[in-house]
């Protein structure tokens, strides 16, 4: 179940909506602003425990399941990398090129 049904909208718009939602969540939880390409876990950043929170949040919000080889910290390092992961898994779930 997804509250961000992109339906017929183009990929770029979908990406933007996803990106915006991830930024919103990050800023609400960490109470500071983030750029889409900032490494969240670099020194002075977030703890890797927080990465699991991101996993759970992305799954709930975008109706995806993140498992196996996709469970790598690198996929959650930046808003951009999370957006790419979400879009790939949503395409797969929608019957696209499923490789998960």
């Amino acid at each position: 179940m997804s509250s961000f049904d992109t339906g017929a909208t183009g990929t770029t718009e979908a990406n933007e909506a996803t990106e915006k939602e991830i930024l919103r969540f990050l800023e609400a939880r960490t109470k500071r602003p983030w750029k889409t390409d900032t490494d969240l876990f670099a020194s002075g950043g977030l703890s890797s425990l927080f990465a699991m929170e991101l996993v759970v949040h992305l799954e709930k919000t975008f109706g995806i399941s993140i498992r196996g080889a996709d469970l790598r910290l690198d996929n959650f390092r930046t808003v951009t990398s999370m957006t790419a992961l979400v879009e790939r898994l949503r395409t797969a779930a929608a019957g696209g090129t499923a490789d998960a």
Partner: protein, 298 residues
């Protein structure tokens, strides 16, 4: 530091690979089960509390995924080799039993008497007790030589070293079998003698009690205590965040055991800890302890 030799004789040479039973699906039972599954060891997980057992598969799945995310367990790990039960009827063919039930000596004594009557002689019965002397527990098993202590810490997949306790009556082959199992689980072991609280609880738990007392006395907030212990003394998470991770009910039980066995007043659980238990603020597992936790962040 002692490591068991890899050539340790297998007590069940015909039984093939490891297959463990874990008693107690609480914080530690879940964590130890995730660690075992993550290393390809099938687990029978037993808890009397059906509700707890209902949540266990999800909790274990979550812990496995966290471990994968942090690169601590292989990506292929899942919960397919997990079996759940509310009775110990099925423990008979386990190659080892890990007891991780509530830190109350009478409960553990009963559980050990029960499982030792069900398993094959020579099957290691491993207690994960924080503080109860192993030899005291061993006295309730049919074969005290089969009983040893391992002190896994939370979360087991993240903590590379396990304190192993050799009781006065623990057999050589039991120690070897425990060492072999820990090798399979990818943990280092440090073997110590039996005593109340062994090494880690004996040192850590009174320290956490003191940290709570400092907050109780109004000297500093929990945040300030943890910030000082982390920032000045290099404690990895701060003692009060650690209390939340352990579970404050379990911490209080362990302190009581220490206090009863050693008479050390520093181990008498302080009022603030007792208050938190009365209010059900047990730490991460209930969403609130010294800190508040989001559901997603437990």
């Amino acid at each position: 530091m002692t490591r068991a030799p890899h050539t340790a004789p297998d007590p069940h040479p015909a039984a093939g690979p490891h297959r463990i039973a874990v008693l107690g699906a609480g914080v530690m039972g879940v964590g130890i089960t995730a660690l075992a599954l993550g290393h390809g060891v099938p687990v029978l997980l037993v808890d009397l509390d059906e509700e707890r057992l209902d949540r266990a598969r999800d909790d274990i799945d979550r812990e496995l995924r966290m471990a994968q995310l942090m690169g601590r367990l292989p990506a292929a790990a899942d919960t397919r080799a997990l079996h759940l039960a509310t009775t110990t009827d099925g423990v008979g063919d386990a190659t080892a039993v890990v007891e991780a039930i509530t830190e109350i000596a009478e409960l553990k004594a009963k559980a050990l008497a029960d499982i030792s009557a069900r398993v094959r002689p020579g099957t290691p019965l491993i207690s994960n007790t924080s503080s109860i002397p192993i030899d005291e527990l061993a006295g309730h098993a049919e074969r005290p030589e089969d009983v040893a202590g391992t002190h896994f810490m939370n979360p087991p997949y993240l903590i590379p070293t396990v304190e192993v306790i050799r009781g006065a009556r623990t057999g050589e082959s039991t120690m070897a079998a425990v060492g072999a199992l820990l090798d399979v689980l990818g943990r280092n072991q440090v073997v110590v003698r039996d005593a109340p609280g062994f090494v880690t609880s004996r040192v850590l738990h009174p320290m956490i009690n003191d940290a709570a007392r400092v907050v109780q006395e109004g000297t500093a907030t929990a945040e300030a205590v943890d910030a000082l212990m982390e920032g000045c003394l290099g404690h990895p998470t701060g003692p009060l965040r650690t209390a939340d991770l352990i579970g404050i009910d379990n911490l209080v039980d362990s302190l009581r055991v220490l206090h009863q066995h050693t008479g050390d007043e520093g181990s008498r659980p302080c009022e603030l800890l007792l208050d938190k238990v009365r209010q059900g603020q047990l730490g991460r597992k209930t969403g609130r302890g010294f800190y508040a936790y989001q559901e997603e962040n437990r």
